[in-house]
Amino acid sequence: MSLKLRIWRQADARDKGSMVTYQLQNVSPDMSFLEMLDVLNERLTLDGEDPVAFDHDCREGICGMCSLVINGVPHGPEKATTTCQLHMRHFSDGETIDIEPWRAAAFPVVKDLVVDRRAFDKIIQAGGFISAPTGSAPDAHAAPVPKADADAAFEAATCIGCGACVAACPNGSGMLFTAAKITHLGLLPQGQPERDTRVIDMLHAHDEAGFGGCTNTGECTSVCPKGIPLETISRLNKDYRKALHAAS
């Protein structure tokens, strides 16, 4: 395959940045999207140019490092797929592909396609945890959990914190991420003691970090590589309402 790539290049956080066009030949349809960028970077390096910086780690779709807005869609055209698991066979020969970083005030660009996602860490630090005595692992079934709750909690827990929800949201909101954590912990008995303070503190940290407000457009779920459902946001809202009621 031969491709025309238009990639966002930005030297550092202060640089203005722009889209730069690259032609790439001999791309195998079996390459992953990141492998395709590796090939481009090898060429750029040999030519003495600065390679394109992009985030990646496990390349098996579970670490949440890879990002990239591909042709306007976070993680590209395939449903429930991270960029690293996206293969070039989903593109056609001669296609022009636009590659941009996540765009959000809370996720400032570090370089090229790499953004700083520490805003998510701040949300987690505000309440995305449980306080439990450490020591040996508790006995299995010591705290019974209904199967349906366990499944829903696990579904929410599959969130890898990549930030695609923010990148897709027309409001630049991180509500789906926050809601996934609220749902994950709020459905389990271990999450109950801090349930009320968690939702208030996490939402406060979310707003503080400069994310926008949720208007329930549902863009986030349509691009989420883990398919976190929109109902988690309703659960967050319900928990928030109850927490405010309990506090007053």
Partner: protein
Amino acid sequence: MAISGAALVLFLLAHMIGNLKIFFGADAFDHYAHWLRDIGAPMLPHSGFLWIQRVGLLVALVLHIWSAAVLTIRARKARPVKYAHRKPVQGSYAARTMRWGGVIVFLFVVYHILDLTTRHLNPVADTSKAHAAVAADFGPDRWYVTAFYTLAVVTLGFHLRHGIWSALQTLGVSNARRERVLKAVAFAVAFVICAGFLAVPFAVLTGLVK
């Protein structure tokens, strides 16, 4: 957003049901219009209830617009650099047009009050003649009034379709099992309000109501 919106939706339902009185004849409609001004009499003065309602609606409207403005400003701040390539929002058309749709509906409301409440823009200046004002307003010679009315009501329908569901989600009423039902309810309410409001001008236009 959700609570002020809910108040406005309840008013719309009442307003729509009242409008449909026109199908029971001119006398019934005018009687209804006069009754609106006599609600609560003699405890309330003439039009007393209407003024209480107007103040309530104004408060709800101001809160609604204020919340929308806050959300819009936050959204702008949250994405200072735009995407060079942005696919249209994959969510519904209704969700995408909430902000400008809201502006269109607001402009219509201003026009609508000048038209059928204060009668500045209506051929029938006598405010005691409700039926005559409606019949004159939507006549075939004033087709542009009906056109703008239709545009505004359809825009309102889209606004309600997303707005009602979004409000239920914001209030935490929705969940995985209820989501489809609540979306269907939002669509049904939006459709009924749309159809109910459009029935009147089209009945006048086609000569069904004279």
